[in-house]
Symmetry: C2
Subunit: 224 residues, 2 copies
DNA sequence: GCAATCTACTCGCAATGCGAGTAAAACTCC
DNA sequence: GGAGTTTTACTCGCATTGCGAGTAGATTGC
């Protein structure tokens, strides 16, 4: 019996909202889940098959023109597995930000390289934030899922897509933390890149006061 | 020729400070690099060997009692490779926080499970923060690396460990962002867990105003 | 003196990433 | 209307990485 990983539950959770084809599943992951739990595309298709062997989903091959596609649907035991996972202990947070790794070793190169990598990271974070802002705007838009919840509209589709307003409370939570985290990344690297531009070197003694200030501010932010 | 990954450079960067044995390298990763770029232990030893085949480090087998250990040292071309990497474009940030994934699918379970997983994530973040606070305290301590930079002491060891005060400016940068990010995680999940305790369900219509507020606040935080 | 922990790793399998490849359908532009 | 591009809808295989078990000498605490 293969093991379930967070990625497995990521797909299972998507299916909990509605049945989907394999391709739709990968699109959904690319669209939104990516920010929360990145998984490579090839692996997504493997995981879909795993869901079936675990008995958590069923597949039906349906025609699509001259070709076929696989439609997955969650099973009762799939829902139970999802609930069980949601009730279990999550693992430690895992942050992988190459820009931070480069900052950590910045003393092995110069301020130019450091500032460049910081700006690059800031702009990656900015691009991701822009996508997330798109979601927020959509959720708040007239006729959007929030309006549906407030009963101002009976429609269940918006911008040509089927909406799941009952998921909005959960989705908004994930959206909120992710936004906050990326804001920290963008702001820190933007601000610090500008600072680094004035550094004579990455190891200069002249930087000592600013490093002291950084550390002391860090310490003072600490709640007792 | 095997490929270098950020993990490869993570080890190479450690060696840039001083020669180290394989075991010391894994300890350093466990101690500090883990927060910035997590790598499994088994893989660390593989990467050490890769550094040698790439010509970026040398190994010497040295005796340790009746046994031996491998001491790695960076080469000139290793330093060059590190500098070249530091001057290249970093990849996109990658956040993997299971607690966020669970929040995203919280509508498939109840408020109890959600609050529990949130508290668990908050306490993981808290534990990580406590370790980072230890570093800050150490750096600021009397006789610590900051004192060394300010020339108040000539020593180069502190708490029995060799210090690298010239790295402090870079290290403090990485420490600072990481702290800020984990603070966001801890605070968000602590605060929101308390809020979720009062939720009647994860899909209740009653939550609509609070979800609207969350989204609108998110939107208003956005800089123009 | 002996049990537990630390040093110092190796090994193998399973999980995952990554990029290429396939091929039909749909859409776009002149 | 036909040619070229993009989208749909995936499969495949190798390389990378994670994870847990295993080994065995050294050291420390009681």
């Amino acid at each position: 019996m293969p093991d379930a990983s967070p990625a497995t539950y990521g797909l299972l959770g998507m299916l909990a909202a509605r049945p989907m084809t394999g391709y739709e599943l990968t699109q959904q992951v690319r669209r939104s889940l990516r920010f929360v739990w990145p998984v490579s595309e090839g692996h997504l298709y493997r995981e879909q098959k795993k869901l079936v062997t675990l008995g958590w989903a069923t597949v039906k091959t349906e025609p699509a023109g001259r070709r076929t596609r696989q439609r997955y649907a969650i099973t009762r035991s799939g829902r139970a597995a999802l609930r069980a996972w949601l009730a279990s202990e999550p693992e430690e947070p895992h942050l992988q930000i190459e820009g931070v790794l480069r900052a950590f070793y910045a003393d092995s190169s110069g301020p130019e390289a450091l500032a460049a990598s910081m700006r690059s990271t800031a702009s990656s974070a900015g691009a991701m934030l822009a996508e997330l802002h798109g979601f927020v705007d959509e959720y708040l838009a007239e006729g959007g899922p929030l309006d549906m919840l407030e009963d101002r509209t009976k429609a269940r589709t918006f911008a040509g897509r089927e909406m799941h307003p009952e998921r909005l409370h959960s989705v908004a939570l994930a959206l909120d933390v992710t936004t906050q985290l990326l804001e920290v990344v963008e702001e820190f690297f933007t601000r610090t890149a500008a600072e680094v531009d004035n550094w004579p070197s990455t190891t200069d003694a002249e930087l000592t006061p600013s490093t002291r200030a950084r550390l002391e501010q860090n310490q003072s932010r600490r709640p007792s």
